[in-house]
């Protein structure tokens, strides 16, 4: 019996089937936990699924490359998902006219602040250049942030982790910070959350109100676009 199990493991560990299946199972289990935790931002599904997979790969001694051979089929969909962001961007775009000036000002200042503050604080505390460049696009939604990180000389997979951590932080902190600053306008609260904390912040903003969620989705799309366009130009200035 033992040799047969051994043969089976040899087959499974070399096939993309296992990595792909485990990714889907980990995601569904994480979503279940997220629901059970009443959608608390701390029980973030990505955080839970990634922790479980890291633990599993470490325990079984499986390399990331072997896992990724299977998981790449899911990873590939980030490209079409980025293109698909055009649809909610279009839907929200028409609501903006009334708030055009604050939205454009918030976008430009917020986008620049997100990049500059992350890079400068990391540099002050002695982070390496590769780490600083991986941090630069951390407020942008993951598919765009990874593409930008690759272009400017950061480490895309490290950026993905930093983006997800930023999203969780922004979703948790936002509400208390806005209350302390006496910012009550749902559109402004949502937009600032979307600029800072991309999709994870947007999910959170929708729980606060429909209007906050719509403006967060808009901010996420616009910040992704403007960071992708400006960061490669900005990077030489930050070095």
């Amino acid at each position: 019996m033992a040799p047969r199990i051994n043969d089976l493991w040899v087959y499974l560990s070399a096939s993309p089937l296992l990595g792909l299946t485990l990714t889907l199972i980990a995601y569904q289990a994480a979503c279940w936990i997220h629901r059970r935790a009443k959608f608390s931002p701390l029980a973030n599904p990505v955080l839970i699924a990634v922790s479980a997979l890291v633990a599993l790969l470490t325990v079984t001694g499986t390399s990331y490359q072997t896992y990724f051979d299977g998981a790449q089929f899911v990873h590939f969909l980030l490209g079409p998902a980025t293109v698909a962001l055009a649809v909610p961007l279009y839907t929200q775009f028409r609501r903006v006219r009334a708030l055009l000036v604050p939205v454009v000002a918030g976008l430009l200042v917020g986008s620049f602040t997100a990049v500059a503050s992350a890079v400068l604080v990391a540099r002050f505390f002695g982070a390496s250049l590769a780490t600083q460049l991986s941090l630069a696009p951390k407020s942008v939604t993951t598919p765009i942030a990874m593409g930008v990180a690759e272009r400017i000389g950061g480490i895309p997979s490290l950026t993905a982790v930093l983006v997800i951590t930023t999203g969780i932080l922004g979703a948790v902190i936002g509400r208390y910070l806005f209350d302390a600053l006496r910012i009550r306008d749902a559109a402004i609260r949502g937009f600032a959350t979307g600029i800072t904390a991309h999709g994870i912040g947007t999910a959170r903003a929708f729980q606060e109100s429909e209007q906050a969620g719509a403006f967060a989705a808009l901010a996420m799309g616009m910040n992704g676009l403007i960071t992708a366009l400006l960061l490669p130009v900005l990077v030489p200035l930050l070095q």
Binding site: T23, L24, A26, V50, L53, V54, Y64, A71, V74, L78, G79, P80, A81, T82, A84, L85, A86, V87, P88, T91, L99, V101, P102, A105, G106, G110, T113, S117, A118, V121, G126, S128, L135, K138, T141, P143, M146, G147, V148, R151, L158, A160, V163, I164, T166, L169, G170, I173, L177, L181, D185, F191, A192, T193, I195, A197, G221, L225, A228, P232
Partner: protein, 116 residues
């Protein structure tokens, strides 16, 4: 669904060709997103099929981050070395960006309302 998925892939492909052909620093899918956005503006909105396929794809956006997020396993060493700089950078930057963005918008919103 297949037609809408093909449409997304075609826009990504065109974006990729433009980005690499012109050696632009912007990722190909972002250019694809911009082109699709402009197309939607010209055509006054997406067809129902594209609308629902995009919605389905974006509803499970979290799933798509997992393979890349698991890549942290390769960087545990770097994170252990630079954890303080990383943690403070993320924390300070998140608080500052939230506050600055909201305050700037509040300022311009009040000015706009006062001007009316």
């Amino acid at each position: 669904m297949i037609a809408a998925l093909s449409q997304l892939l075609i826009f990504q492909l065109i974006g990729e060709i433009i980005a690499r052909g012109l050696e632009l620093p912007v990722p190909g899918p972002v250019i694809g997103m911009l082109l699709l956005f402009l197309t939607l503006m010209v055509r006054n909105g997406p067809k129902p099929e594209l609308q629902s396929t995009s919605q389905n794809l974006l509803q499970h956006l979290s799933l798509l981050f997992i393979p890349a997020g698991t890549g942290v396993i390769v960087h545990l060493h770097r994170i252990a070395d630079e954890w303080l700089a990383l943690l403070l950078s993320l924390l300070v930057s998140t608080v500052v960006t939230l506050a600055v963005t909201a305050l700037v918008m509040q300022f311009f919103n009040a000015r706009q309302s006062a001007g009316e």
